[in-house]
């Protein structure tokens, strides 16, 4: 390989040397090896696997589209897809305005802002799994549970929380919002420091009230980062796993089974790696379209 390289570089030794020569190859080696093993390789392998029958024991065999037809006709899939969409929707409704409001408000506080910052970031520091275990206890369905006793002071409840088919998903989203709001609001805050303040002056002279200044001056200027956070949140929530897995394991009666939980079950409970990758490929396809669409939308909107 060394000889071949030196021969080729014979044409223009200078450019070859400037671009690093052999040492460029050495510098690129970690990246290329790591990506071959852990990124490019697995992606290609995933596509191949989705057309194979593979349980890690018997040698893999080609089965055409049967993994896809198996996955698509699985009666659990529509429910899992709906649950995932429901989770995304709830996470967007709860989790999206809260950090934005927090950030806009905190940015107005000159002296005490940092205190609000630290307080709102605190839940994000708690290890997510510890937080989930703690909240599982908070959601204790008996009358003596933490949330049920608090609501009991106001004459409400007791609620079944995670044991109820209708409340389980909102309960999970509530915890996820609690854990995530602080981190998101820090990012908005950083974006808000770049807002051009002289526009507030102009808006005020034009008679715009406080809310209209927020709506017409502040938010448009951080539109780019808002869209990006929305995109990241959507892509993240479509692949939600830890919360439903630990809170409910997908129950009660599959009310919180998400697509990723289904993939996990196919692969690591049933040992059907073909079906698991087929579903992964389908989900990745949807998310890929989503991220390309958003990519172009954000590009267009940030230009206009």
């Amino acid at each position: 390989m060394f000889q071949q390289r030196t021969q080729k570089s014979g044409r223009s030794v200078a450019t070859w040397y400037r671009s690093g020569g052999l040492s460029a190859v050495f510098f690129a080696l970690p990246l290329v090896l790591i990506f071959l093993y852990f990124s490019w390789g697995p992606i290609v392998r995933g596509l191949v696997l989705s057309f194979q029958k593979n349980n890690l024991v018997a040698p893999p065999e080609w089965v055409g589209m049967s993994n896809f037809s198996y996955v698509l006709t699985d009666p659990q899939l529509p429910q899992a897809a709906l649950n995932t969409l429901y989770f995304c929707l709830l996470a967007l409704i709860f989790g999206f305005p809260v950090p934005l409001f927090l950030a806009v408000f905190i940015s107005e506080l000159r002296k005490t802002g940092w205190l609000y910052n630290v307080l709102s970031y605190l839940p994000a520091v708690v290890p997510p799994v510890a937080a989930i275990l703690l909240w599982t206890f908070f959601y204790d369905p008996s009358g003596a549970g933490v949330f049920n006793s608090i609501l009991g002071w106001f004459g409400l409840g007791p609620f079944a929380w995670l044991n109820s088919q209708t409340l389980a998903m909102p309960a999970i989203v509530l915890e996820a919002t609690w854990a995530g709001a602080g981190a998101t609001s820090i990012i908005y805050l950083a974006a808000l420091t770049g807002v051009r303040t002289e526009l507030y002056e102009a808006a005020e002279l034009d008679g715009a009230g406080i809310w209209r200044r927020v709506w017409h001056v502040t938010l448009p200027q951080i539109r780019g980062i808002i869209l990006i956070m929305m995109l990241l949140q959507l892509i993240g929530t479509f692949q939600v796993f830890t919360e439903p897995f630990l809170f409910t394991g997908g129950g009660p009666n599959n009310a919180t089974t998400t697509i990723l939980l289904l993939i996990y079950r196919y692969a690591f409970i049933n040992g059907d790696f073909g079906a698991a990758t087929a579903l992964s490929v389908l989900l990745a396809g949807v998310l890929c379209v989503l991220s390309v669409v958003y990519h172009f939308l954000t590009r267009r909107w940030s230009i206009s």
Partner: protein
């Protein structure tokens, strides 16, 4: 900063709705944040030293019937929280080192050396940015079970967590973009002074990129700190598991009072670290947000 105006102006503050409304919202928000942010931690502190009966019967009682301080050392010794936290730290630091190594050297080639074949690599890295992680979950697991060509298994070694972390397209592109902004004249000047590539990398590029290296390091540590599914899959050996994987397993077999003190210890250390370094930490996370744009 303080002389710069915000959304609300001086004349706004003279209007009585704003003058009294604003502090009112401020106080309400403060109380809300204290309840949401500190409340669960205080509750955990109380429950960590209570008896199981107290936790189950009256979780909202202000004062437990008796304080069981021995819960805390019990949790430390019997549940081995210390060992799991240690594993978490090893995993986070190892992931950080491997990520930084791969993305600084890679970005150095793609941005500074710019060989002809660099464009192909940049394109191939960029392409993976659009593919969500879920697509490679199962094949990645199979790769770790039996590494192609090498034929070895990384399962139950920390490498199984450290190495895949480094294959993040986002970090490489962020690093490359930062390196791109370093003036070429500086690089040429160093070359003329006789600096080889290795020296160029260690003596010029790396010192100039401290801020971005810090951000990538912070993001990697936070990411591996939060990871659950991947270490659960590749580290079935309890002695190697990070706290996130160990806690749910332990929770099934220990009594509630010990569970709560274990949770308390697991939460205490990161919270204290955060409170001590909150300024640097929040600045770093804020910068990371700017990077995403």
């Amino acid at each position: 900063m303080s002389d710069e105006r915000g959304i609300i102006s001086v004349s706004d503050r003279k209007v009585s709705v704003v003058r009294y409304g604003l502090p009112a919202i401020q106080v309400l928000l403060f109380i809300g944040l204290v309840i949401a942010g500190v409340g669960p931690l205080l509750w955990l502190l109380k429950s960590g030293v209570s008896t199981s009966q107290d936790i189950l019967r009256g979780p909202m009682q202000l004062w437990p019937s008796g304080i069981q301080l021995k819960n805390i050392p019990d949790a430390w010794n019997r549940v081995q929280i210390g060992a799991y936290l240690g594993n978490t730290a090893i995993i986070a630091i190892g992931s950080m080192i491997s990520t930084l190594f791969v993305c600084t050297t890679g970005a150095f080639v793609l941005s500074v050396l710019r060989p002809k074949w660099g464009l192909i690599i940049t394109g191939a890295v960029l392409a993976t940015l659009f593919l969500p992680g879920v697509i490679s979950l199962v094949p990645l697991y199979m790769t770790v079970l039996k590494m192609p060509v090498l034929g070895i298994s990384l399962q139950n070694t920390f490498w199984a967590v450290w190495l895949p972390q480094a294959a993040g397209a986002f970090n490489i592109l962020v690093m490359k973009r930062y390196f791109d902004s370093i003036p070429r004249e500086l690089i040429e000047a160093a070359r003329i002074d006789g600096a080889g590539n290795l020296r160029l990398f260690t003596a010029l590029i790396l010192p100039l990129s401290k801020p971005i290296v810090g951000v990538v390091a912070l993001l990697t540590v936070i990411g591996s700190w939060k990871d659950y599914l991947w270490p659960l899959l590749v580290l079935p050996d309890p002695r190697l598991q990070p706290i996130s994987v160990a806690l749910p397993r332990v929770a099934k077999t220990t009594e509630i009072s010990l569970q709560m003190s274990a949770l308390f210890l697991a939460v205490l250390i990161p919270v204290v670290l955060f409170l001590v370094f909150q300024k640097q930490f929040l600045r770093g996370v804020g910068m990371a947000g700017g990077v995403k744009e």
